[in-house]
Symmetry: C2
Subunit: 245 residues, 2 copies
DNA sequence: CGTGAAGTTGATGCTTCTCAAGCGAAGTGG
DNA sequence: CCACTTCGCTTGAGAAGCATCAACTTCACG
């Protein structure tokens, strides 16, 4: 890495293209493993973009060209199956990486849609790979991140294979809460999702979600405030799911 | 890495503890990304062990101490769920790494049982991490391996959520065949599995597997030779599964 | 307000699981 | 070497769980 990318010529913040050093995720995302020269390069090369709620940001089976980081916002990542049926496999938020599933692929294996107004920082895959190859520590931590993703994916695999619908809906609520929780309290899900979307996380239908949410409400486990779902009794939800790890 | 671990003092082959340079997987496993000094260290530190068919080699929720490599043999990797019900998440063979799901964990998240008489090379996690941290290229390729595992796991997640039992059984057969295929021909599964085990891959019950195999046989798609399953019409099986990627 | 989208709820029927009986192959012990 | 046991596999019947469909209600938004 040469010295041309010094602090003096770093990209000027202009709303979207903020300086990585000013990024809200500077300390919590992969950015924290980046060396100053990495950040200089990223600052210089990244292209940030704003997407509205509901807008698609990644398309399955299209050429992998960029890796994204979520500057702010929420995104659902899903795979399309039979008859266009969608299975949500990940809920991502501020600081998360997006599109990394395409890193060793020609085509993206997933699609992604914004769940809220979102700002993304896009980096060409080549640039990202360059950084990775010059920063072993970053590569090591990205490896551990993949290992973690694999861990959760395999739990999900087992759960979809073995859980009843009631268990799957309860598990979905806990997963959503875990993905977007605001505070330590086990209450708001932190996002508004349609019954259909919850069904696409749980692996069932919107009607079943509706019925089971009504059950949970009757049992005093959750509360329905308009479109918002509040978890009143987190322990009981976990009890329904039974197995945690 | 100092020079004490030179070729001269490399561990003497003694049946199980063969020299890595003589390993059948020398060119096809992660070993190919190892530098000579890495291999010297591994040669010196590894402890190989022989396990019989049916013997358990990894236990969920036990302390992670070792990473294994399969010198020869076949292994099923599974997670335990409700009522001890098992979900097979991986079929591993000669040259594959085993226990890597524990790399960033205190406890192994999976169990593993040998499907055939198997020889394993065990390496202390610390030793493996040492090698990883001194060999960025290896770390990079292990990262890509995890990315690949994640890719397949997420396809599995979607399939379990959306497939009918018939589709799941067909998919299981193709996966088994892919894991253990001997030649390019689409015929033998390359392993003998019980109906129960196939059910634990497919995410259904042994009775459903039995019935669907009988159907496939009636339709001329497969042939049942004693305990062996032969795939006669691979394309039709893929047709049943429908979606491939 | 009016319109369309999203959510609710109950009825219906299909799919899948469970249970049980029968079969055959493999292994054990007299 | 033959009965006996055991285990895995097969098959059918019954029950349960779940998806689908349809009618209705509620909500959001112009």
């Amino acid at each position: 890495m040469d010295n041309l990318l010094s602090k003096e010529i770093r990209v000027k913040p202009n709303g979207l293209n903020i300086d990585c050093y000013e990024c809200p995720s500077h300390h919590c995302s992969l950015l924290k493993y980046c060396l100053p020269e990495n950040i200089d390069l990223i600052n210089n090369r990244k292209r940030c973009m704003s997407v509205k709620k509901g807008q698609q940001v990644l398309y399955e089976r299209t050429l992998v060209d960029k890796i994204f980081f979520i500057q702010t916002g929420k995104v659902k990542v899903y795979k399309t199956g039979i008859n266009g049926k969608q299975q949500i496999i990940r809920l991502s938020k501020t600081g998360d990486i997006l599109g990394h599933r395409g890193l060793n692929r020609k085509l993206y294996p997933i699609s992604a849609i914004a769940l809220s107004d979102t700002i993304l920082c896009g980096l060409e895959v080549n640039d990202f790979v360059n950084v990775l190859q010059t920063n072993p520590n970053l590569a090591y931590h990205l490896m551990m991140f993949y290992a973690d993703e694999l861990y959760y994916s395999e739990i999900k695999t087992r759960n979809l294979a073995q859980f009843s619908v009631r268990e799957k809906v309860a598990d979905a609520l806990l997963n959503i809460q875990e993905s977007f929780k605001m505070s330590n309290e086990c209450e708001s899900l932190g996002v508004i999702l349609s019954r259909q979307e919850i069904a696409e996380i749980a692996g069932t239908t919107k009607e079943q979600v509706s019925k089971n949410l009504a059950d949970f409400k009757d049992e005093g486990i959750i509360q329905l405030n308009g479109k918002e779902i509040l978890i009143l009794d987190c322990e009981r939800l976990k009890g329904i799911v039974g197995i945690s790890e």
